[in-house]
Amino acid sequence: MKIHEYQAREILAKHGVPVPRAEVATSPAEARAVAERLGGSVVVKAQVLVGGRGKAGGVKLAAGPAEAEEIAGRILGMDLKGITVRRVLVAEAVNIQKELYLGVTIDRSRQAVVAMGSAEGGVEIEEVARTAPDKIIKVYAHPMLGFADFHARQLAYGMGLAPSFASDFTRIMRGLYNAMVATDASLVEINPLVIVDGKLLAIDSKILLDDNALYRHKDLEALRDLDEDDPYERAAREEGLNFVKLDGNIGCVVNGAGLAMATMDVVKLYGGDPANFLDIGGGARAESVAAALKIILSDPKVEAVLFNIFGGITRCDEVAKGIVAAQGQLERKVPMVVRLLGTNEEEARRILAEASLISATTMEEAAQKVVAQLKQG
């Protein structure tokens, strides 16, 4: 789960990371008031959960309160990559001498927490990783010790920082790690971490939370910004479904994440365009299948649906019941191709006999048939 910059900033500050003075504003007048309190120039930053805000015009410098108000007026309500800006962070502007990058994340191959630093801050670290990987210095946390002070110095000196920064850098790195552990984050990042008047300051903060750990962090779950969720994905999450919205016109209902991805791939392979990723999960009941179908068809772009079920724990008859139940309530009818295999598949076939569905034996056949339906139409 992503959280906003202003939320990440507060978490880091609580863990001892120095951040510039700043406040959130939801109206131009508030932005003006914040700028007055801060004094001097300020930066007005759109608070949206998408990358590349700066390039898209969501981050602007204001010389004082009047300009802050004017800029906030322009940014608030702006559409940034499909998201409407509802909040800005108004932060004191500082005189940046150098921009660095510092982040902690999980190294899957090493099965360890890794801290990455780079003297090339302010740009996307993935870009640096691609073009100049040797400019990224890495140190790995020990699962018992976390990061020791010497790890921080290895990183700092590796990044070319002078010894005078070692102590501040150590505190910041410890802050990042502690914030990561305290929130079960999968990424805690400062980009840029800047040098201002011989001191380090975290100008922009980003935290990604581990969805699997949210059950033990009710306070963090509460930070979720429902405004920014895709409405289909939000509806699916409320039904306990693993759903990702895509741009195509063929809805997919599948059990299992790997098979769901493979089903999308096969649809594409035969010239179709999947409208979504959907894993109904192991042992799904009729109700969740029906809910899934409703969510998929609430997107007017969807013109056909493909069911691909390989029943292991999942019972095909439950899926069939869900399809029949949903069909009765649907406002619009689209062609549906069904491929059910495994546990209770014969019972499922009986249930579906009366429904007007196109059946298929293999997933390839199912994909071909659903694509063919659209070409006919």
Binding site: I106, E126, S186, N212, A213, G258, M261, F277, D279
Partner: protein, 290 residues
């Protein structure tokens, strides 16, 4: 022969008193797996599916000689269950649960390694040596005994491929679902090494998906160490960047972990990549013919 599990496997089912635990205990017993014990932290003394239930894995090991464990407890209790099994001396622990926090898994895999044990999963369908032993939730009837080893990050996708192989009479030595989480106990390379060393495994199928770089690393390993014919498939060619595709580990981030890279790496390592899961069977059949 086979890898990891066979007729000598003596299984303890952790969480046997739960709905899933009991259901799959019965399925495994029906398949022929020697399920010797079950555990529940507070319900010791019962009998479930004809199997004695203990409070502690230690007791189960002492009294039944269990050497393998399968865990059917919810994610929030799964970490403790893995640790308990390893502490009790179990050398092969299989964890089905999906949803274990990643930072917890870093500690778990460390503990497992310290103790010389092996963990399969979490977030995996378990494993199966057709005709001998099934540990997990794979549907037994789709598999046939044979000489193709299969390793996969995914569950139902594995079934799809197993069925495709069996339909073409390509039986399997062992099918291993390693799980879809970012941090897992056993990775592709571990299983490839075992298949390469297993004299009765003559060919290998590897099913990957987007996210991480396990497939790329496996490709490096294959290039150097695997001499047996290999077919493969990577799921998620149409997956968008930055979105978790169901599995916690299946996410393309910062442009890395794409299916394209993985397919290229595996192809370069000599693995014949199929265009769809069912085609894996045909590809493998061709390789074994020619």
């Amino acid at each position: 022969m086979s890898i990891l599990i066979d007729n000598d496997t003596r299984l303890v089912v952790q969480g046997i008193t739960g709905r899933e635990g009991e259901f799959h205990a019965r399925q495994m017993i029906a398949y022929g797996t020697k399920v010797v014990a079950g555990t529940n932290p507070v319900k010791g003394g019962q009998t479930v599916a004809g199997v004695p239930v203990f409070n502690m894995v230690k007791q189960a090991v002492a009294e039944t000689g269990a050497n393998t464990s399968i865990i059917y407890v919810p994610a929030f209790a799964a970490v403790d269950a893995i640790l308990e099994a390893v502490d009790a001396g179990i050398k092969l622990v299989v964890c089905i649960a999906e949803g274990i926090p990643t930072l917890d898994m870093i500690e778990v895999v460390r503990f497992v390694k310290e103790n010389g044990a092996r963990l399969i999963g979490p977030n995996c369908p378990g494993l199966m040596t057709p005709g001998q032993c099934k540990v997990g939730i794979m549907p037994g009837h789709i598999a046939k005994p044979g000489k193709v080893g299969l390793v996969s990050r995914s569950g139902t996708l594995t079934y799809e491929v197993v069925k495709a192989l069996s339909d073409l009479d390509l039986g399997q030595s062992t099918c291993v679902g390693i799980g879809g989480d970012p941090i897992i106990g056993t990775n592709f390379i571990d299983v490839l090494e075992m298949f390469q060393a297993d004299p009765e495994t003559e060919a290998i199928v590897m099913i990957g998906e987007i996210g991480g770089s396990d497939e790329e690393q496996a490709a490096e390993y294959i290039k150097k160490h695997v001499t047996k014919p290999m077919a493969g498939f990577i799921a998620g060619q149409t997956a968008p960047e930055g979105k978790r595709m169901g599995h916690a580990g299946a996410i393309i981030s910062g442009g890395t972990g794409t299916a394209k890279e993985k397919i290229a790496a595996m192809t370069a390592a000599g693995v014949r990549m199929a265009e769809s899961p069912p085609r894996v069977g045909a590809v493998m059949a061709e390789m074994l013919k020619g």
